[in-house]
Amino acid sequence: MDSRREQTQLYEMLRNPNLRDEGFRQLMAQYGNRLYWHIRRIVVGHDDAEDVLQETCIKILDNISSFRGDGQITTWIYSIATNESLRHLRRQTHLFQSIDSLAPTLISKLQAETSLDSNKAEVVFQKALLTLPTQQRIAFSMRYYDELSYEEISAITGKSIGTLKANNHYATEKIKKFIKEYGL
């Protein structure tokens, strides 16, 4: 993650009503791409990811005054993006249905959105990820793709570091098993 000084500077801009828009542009220029892919890994579909990213931007801007600056701004925006993505998935479920049951739908989306020349190993890896329980999948993705520390993931998800480490271990084992079954 980025230097404390840069974050403080950005935070000061976002707190100042006259500089807020510019600060928000800088924030999104810096983290927007990563945020999109974080969302995309959760909701899978591109259109879904675009909608969730839009909602995330609105939420960030609306709630910027409630961010106290005691934590990292990246952790805070990741929390919003994660919550918005989960909310989006929940909207696709029926009453009393868990979002984990959306796995087959998400796998179909993955297949529809990957091109023929996509790397087969990458597709299989994504499929393996989608077989994990949603919370485990999110934590694993943040660790693997975004290279966030367990402390940061803990701040985003609200889960203890011990639980995250254990979940990450189980997730890795499940993915390895899945990939092995595919003969990769």
Partner: protein, 106 residues
């Protein structure tokens, strides 16, 4: 897993394409917040205008009612006043003076 390159996703969207999406989402969020702020400002202005109009109406109504009462009071005279106005001071002196007898206690 060892051959899998990190950070790669099996999707078609290029970095530039995603950057455009991010920029669009950013600008839309900013413009939406400006609109919301303007709407909020309009709401406050409307609420203030309604309050002023209501307060003004209440004041006008109150003043009008009081004025009407005063006008009625001014225009109407009792028969006693009419009678007293119609006689001279001497005639007033000559009017019999009635004493009201005390009502005995039972």
């Amino acid at each position: 897993m060892k051959d899998l390159k990190k950070y790669e996703m099996p999707y078609r969207e290029s970095k530039e394409y995603v950057d455009n999406i991010v920029e669009r989402a950013t600008e839309q969020a900013i413009s939406r917040q400006r609109t919301t702020k303007t709407h909020t400002l309009y709401k406050y202005i409307t609420a203030a205008a309604v309050t002023v109009i209501l307060a003004g109406s209440a004041i006008i109504y109150y003043n009008h009612t009081n004025f009407s009462k005063e006008l009625i009071a001014e225009n109407s005279t009792s028969p006693v006043d009419d009678f007293l106005n119609s006689i001279t001071d001497e005639e007033i002196q000559m009017l019999p003076y009635y004493e009201v007898e005390e009502i005995p206690e039972y």
